[in-house]
Structure formats: C-alpha cells, structure tokens
C-alpha cells in the first residue's frame, strides 16, 4: 500500500529502534513533526539551537554507542548543524541528520530558506544525499542508518524536499540494503596480523598506543587482556583515554601535545609501536620526521585510508580493533619488559604531572581530582581548551567512567550540549560537564533544554576569565600581548596590563545569575575548602547544577609541545 513520505520516515525511525530524536522545528519539517506527534514511542528533544542540537545527539551517541538522530529544517536550520556535523565526522560519531528541504520545483531558485546543504557538508559527512525520488526514500533511509553505524562510524545527512515528504509511494522499509560502493572491512588478514605479532614479540621496548577506535569497537577488555598477557605498557590518545583503567600498572598516560612526559618519552624511545584505533593526528605525532624515530610501527585501523596517511607504517593491518585483538589475545605470550617498564617508571618519577598550589582561587588539579573522587564512574564531558587538557591530565578514569570530548575538531561549545545528550542517553549515570568560561558561553542557551526536559547535569566551569588556551600562547610565545583573549569588560581589546590579576574591570556574565535565571542551581567556589562541599551538594541536587571555579588566569597547561616540534621537546 502506498503511504506518504513522512509516514515512511517515521516508520523507518521506529524500525531502527530510535527512541529519541533531537529536533528543532521549521516549515520544511512540520509534516514529519506532525507525523511524529501521533507516535507516542519516539521522544523529541527540543534544543535551543541547531548546532547544540547536533552536539546533544553526539553526546547521546557517544554515551550509548547508538546512532544519534537529528531533525532540522532547511536553510539556517541546516547550516547551523554544520560545525557539529564536522565534529562528529572527525571523532567518528554515528549520526543520521535529516534536513528538510524546499520542494523540488523550488530548488535552485534561491527560495526562502533554501540552501544546498548536501553540497556544503560533502567533505564532513560519511555520506550525504538529497532524496529526489519518492520511490528511493526507504532505501536511502536504510542506507543512512547502515553507513552511519558500520565500519568507521560517522555522520550521514539526508536532505528531504517537502514534496517527497508529502508524496505517496511505497510503504516498505527494507530490512537490509546492498550498497555496491560501500563494503566496510569485517574481517582481519591473519597473515598480516601474524607479521605484526611477530614484530611486536621481537621488541625490547614495545609500546601500545591506543586511540578512540578501541572504544568504538568495544575492544577495551580485549586490549587490557592483550597488554597484560604480553606485559606491554600502554599509552593513549585523548580519544583513547580510559580504554584501559588508569590505575592499571601498565598504563603510562596520555601522549601528545599536552601528554605525560613519560608517555611521550616512551613513544620516542620504543623500538616497536603497536598503534590501534588512532589516525596519528598531528597533536599526537608533533614533527612527523621525529615521531617514534627508533620504532618500527604497526598500525591497526578499520579504515584503509587512515593507514600510512600521516605516519608511514611498517605493518598495516586493516581491521576492526576488537577483531584484531581477539586473535592477538589467542597468540599472546608474556614478554620480558621489566627493564623497559622501569625506565618508563623513572621518567614518570622525573616529571610527574602536578600543579603548584595557586596564590588564590583553586588549582585545576585540585578540582579535577575532587571531581574524579566525588563522581567516580561518571561520564565526564569536556568542552575545548585548557580545562579540557587539565581534564585529560587529572581526571582519573576507572573501568566504569569515561571521557567524552571533542578531540579531532576541537569545537568550543561542544561540552554543555554533549553532556545534556549524554545524560539523555544514560539517565541512570552521573554526567559531569567540565568546561571553560569561554566555551560555556558558546552554547549556554541549552540550559533551557536541560531545564525543560528535566535533564540533570553538573556543569563545572573553570573560570579563568580568559580564553585560556590562546592566552597561554600569548603568555609563553607572544610577549604577553593579550589581544581579544580577556573576557572582562575593558576599555580596549588590547589587554596591556601584564598583571593578569588586575581585577578592577567587570567580568561578564555573572554565571550565578545566569543559572538562577533558568532555575538551575549555581554554586561559586573561590577557595580550596569549598570544592568538596560544592561537589557533594551538586551530586545530591535534583536540579541542573552549575559550579563556577575561580581559576587563576596565569595557570598554564604543561607539559606542552609546540605545534610542529618533536614530541621530545616538551616544555615542562
């Protein structure tokens, strides 16, 4: 029996088991919204801005492993999603973004709220298409869900013109589709994996570098078992932080630009590097010519195109992380790595991570450690900037807790909405958003979403009154010329007062009044003794909570490797 396109869209969502749709209304999706209105078993979450909406879907997807579904209108509704779609693309987050489009007879006319959103997002989606034929709607929707969630996951954008939503056509939603140009890798080349294992076994100073792909494929336990059976120390990327518990004796720490001294040294000095589920981003490698100079490199990745792209590797293995590790665990035999691990432990002793007690306010380390203790087992969601790096350094993850962060794109404004989405996906868990005062202001309207949907998150604002990551560059490399990084009200954009503690001008906004305006609970913490009581109160509250921590502006993230320099050239 023929049915309207909008009915098939809703049928598709139901058959895919979608229970939440992140949506913002508009003229070109009102038909679909109306159809959803009549289906009680899908809940629509009304965000307050489409960028935040997609970050919420990302938070949901990252917390649950399920595909996040977004529904937005044409024109500005669609263009507002672009930053967040790019974010999902770089961090391999499965999303299906449905955009309404003007009717096909208007496309190309510069019609009201018409944009070529498929064209605009071509390089940041895994797949994107405008549905031009009602008959193909079912197949395209099925393709979207398959492509988004399989292989290396990613965002898929389906643009549906209004006439297609209204037109009658086939009512079937296919169980499966065969896509001749899309064959994600579902096996592992045993011969290649054996070569990798042999090389690893021959090492004197072996290292494992684990990235976010390990988490995506659900291979955490297998990685832990593999590392333990072979006694190989493990460093992680930021996206991989937590794939093995941080109190594990084999865990060395995060590597990269703001990684642990011992982790970066271990990668620089190892003789075989077994890397899995990482694409060797420049934040991990630094100067490519100097990266892991003594090592032969094994690279396991599900996507062929990720291999030998940044770093030319000795043994490529195209495989899902879990599949490869399953085999490797079978073969694994213990190696003698005591000496090597002692060397690494000595590096750690030489330069452990720690921050000095500040002259006033609270130190990021104190706050992160208190958050880890109070919210053990939580989902920690960060924004982007100094606080993010401090969180990667000082938040301790156990096997229950995990970190959700914008790793690849580095999107300010990600944290708060992603935390809301994570809590929607995992309502039984504590969700703590760690953010800066800059990033917070990029999507603070979402407090309305949290309040209206009754979503309790604890938001910890590290307020250092500056856009700290850039301010840190100005402090260290640009003669303390703080141009447009101060968030205080000032007479000039050139903040020439070398004394960053000059507090005569006014800070805007007042985060306590902001929390109050939305009906959330605001708590301000200006000294160490207030940290724990504030977190305890936040944990007990039924309301969304905002805790503002006074962080001295001069606090910098260390160690640091300047962009383009070798990973051994750490500023300590």
């Amino acid at each position: 029996m023929d049915i309207a396109g909008k009915k098939l869209i809703v049928k598709a969502l139901m058959e895919e088991g979608v229970d939440k749709v992140f949506a913002y209304p508009g003229g070109m999706i009102v038909d679909i919204m109306d159809e959803l209105y009549q289906k009680a078993d899908i809940e629509l979450i009304l965000a307050r801005h489409e960028q935040a909406l997609v970050h919420e879907a990302e938070g949901y997807a990252r917390a649950t492993g399920k595909t996040g579904v977004c529904l937005v209108t044409s024109g500005p509704g669609a263009t507002n999603t672009i930053t967040a779609i790019a974010d999902a693309h770089y961090d391999s987050v499965p999303l299906v973004v449905i955009t309404g489009q003007v009717a096909q007879d208007l496309i190309g006319n510069d019609a009201f709220q018409e944009v070529d959103i498929v064209g605009m997002t071509r390089s940041i989606t895994k797949y994107g298409v405008t549905v031009r034929d009602r008959k193909s709607l079912g197949r395209i929707l099925k393709m979207a869900f398959v492509i988004a969630s399989t292989g290396k996951p990613g965002p898929v954008l389906i643009d549906i013109p209004k006439d297609i939503q209204q037109a009658a056509g086939p009512g079937e939603y296919p169980d499966q589709v065969s896509i001749r140009g899309y064959k994600p890798n579902e096996s592992v080349h045993i011969g290649q994996l054996k070569k990798a294992y042999k090389l690893l076994k021959s090492a004197k100073h072996p290292m494992i570098l684990a990235g976010g792909g390990v988490r995506i494929s659900g291979a955490e336990d297998k990685l832990l078992e593999f590392a333990h059976r072979m006694n190989i120390p493990v460093a992680t990327t930021i996206m991989g932080k937590g794939v093995i518990p941080e109190d594990d004796p084999l865990y060395v720490g995060n590597s990269g630009m703001h990684g642990r001294y011992a982790a970066n040294m271990a990668i620089m000095e190892c003789d075989v590097l077994f890397s899995i589920g990482t694409r060797f981003n420049d934040r991990i490698t630094g100067d490519l010519n100097e990266f892991a100079p003594k090592a032969r490199i094994i690279h396991v990745d599900v996507e062929t195109a990720s291999i030998s792209r940044n770093v030319v590797v000795d043994i490529p293995v195209v495989s899902d992380a879990a599949l490869a590790l399953e085999k490797l665990v079978e073969w694994a035999e213990p190696m003698k790595t005591d000496k090597w691990r002692t060397i690494i432990a000595d590096w750690e002793k030489e330069h452990p991570l720690s921050m000095k007690k500040p002259a006033y306010g609270v130190s990021p380390q104190q706050v992160c450690e208190a958050i880890s203790d109070t919210f053990s087992g939580a989902l920690f969601v960060t924004d982007v900037g100094q606080h993010q790096m401090w969180a990667t350094q000082y938040i301790k993850l156990n096997s229950d807790s995990r970190l959700i962060t914008s790793g690849g794109l580095g999107t300010m404004g990600f944290g708060f909405p992603a935390a809301i989405g994570a809590k929607i996906g995992a309502p039984e868990r504590d969700v703590v958003c760690i953010t800066g005062d800059g990033g917070m202001q990029m999507n603070m309207q979402e407090m309305a979403t949290a309040m209206c949907h009754g979503i309790k998150t604890v938001t910890c604002i590290f307020n250092n009154e500056y856009l700290g990551m850039v301010r840190q560059m100005q402090q260290m490399f640009f003669g303390k010329r703080y141009g447009i990084t101060s968030l205080r009200k000032q007479s000039t954009w050139r903040d020439t007062s070398k004394d960053v503690t000059n507090r005569e001008s006014q800070y805007v906004p007042d985060f306590m009044k902001w929390a109050d305006a939305y009906g959330a609970l605001g708590i301000r913490v200006t000294e160490e003794s207030e940290i724990l009581p504030a977190l305890t109160q936040a944990k007990a509250s039924d309301l969304p909570v905002v805790i503002e921590f006074t962080i001295p502006p001069e606090e910098v993230v260390l160690p640091m490797v300047q962009g383009g320099k070798a990973m051994s050239e750490m500023i300590l």
């Binding site: 390089s123 405008t130 001749r180």
Partner: protein, 168 residues
Amino acid sequence: MGKVKKRWIALYVENEVGVLAKVAGLFSGKSYNLSSLTVGTTEHEDISRMTIGVTSDDITFEQIKKQLNTMVEVIKVVDLTDMPIHMKEVLFAKLKRITAEEKAEAFRIAETYGITVIDIDRDAVLLESTLTERRNDELCALLRATFSHIDIVRGGAVAVEGLSTSCR
C-alpha cells in the same frame, strides 16, 4: 616519497547528482593535484566512468586511491598508471588570420600528425585531433611555435584498458 609523475585512474561511480562535485571536491579539499578529469556513461546507465589524470608522488597517489575508495558513490577504482591502455583525447585548434603560406603549413602539420582539417575559411583553418594526451601536448607546442593566433579546445583524456596492446 617516490617520484612525482603523471598517473591515471579509471573510476566507476554511481551516475547520480552531485557525484562529480564530490570527486572534484576531494581533490581541491585535500590539495591533490588534479590535471584532467573526464566523465561519461558506460554500458550500465546507472554507472558512469571517469578518467582522472593526477600528478603526484607515490604516497599521495596511494592516499588518493584510498580516499576515493571510501566514497560511498565510488564503485571501483582502477589504477591505469602501469597498465596497458588505449588513451585518446579530442582536441580542436582554430588557426586564425593566417597567410596562404601558413595555411599550407597547417595542412602539412595535419598530414604529419594524422589529424583532420575539418573546416576552412579564407584566412583560417580548424583542426581536429584525436591523439594521446602527450601527442596532443606536442601538437600544441608546435602550433604555438608556428602560428600567432590560435584557439585551442581540449577535451581531456579518455582511457580504456587494452586487450593485448597499449597506446598512451
């Protein structure tokens, strides 16, 4: 890095709106050096075939092929670089404001190159060449050196895998 040289790819893609833009966008977005791209239909009306010429080193070329393969709309990537192929490119050259002597020279060149004079006027001739891209490059160089007023229109190379011989 390997030698920077001219390489050729045949690409089978879905015959859909936006696919050409997506393929072309990959080259510009990732700073790959695209030198020629032609597209046309195949025996299957829903599949198009592109012939793509790129100038790159080995590593970049490997990456280009992999990136093309990740596209859902790309059905098959065939590396023609070291394969026996037959390649042809259509080229038109309009020689204008020429003297009788130059006209005679144009005919001599056409005869030597095995190409056709397809149109003629009192002081102009129009040449049509269907040669390999390299041969057309040589022809262009000669025409530029010989005549002052030329319009050149080139179609980009089309290639097909050879059976037992090769012409590239």
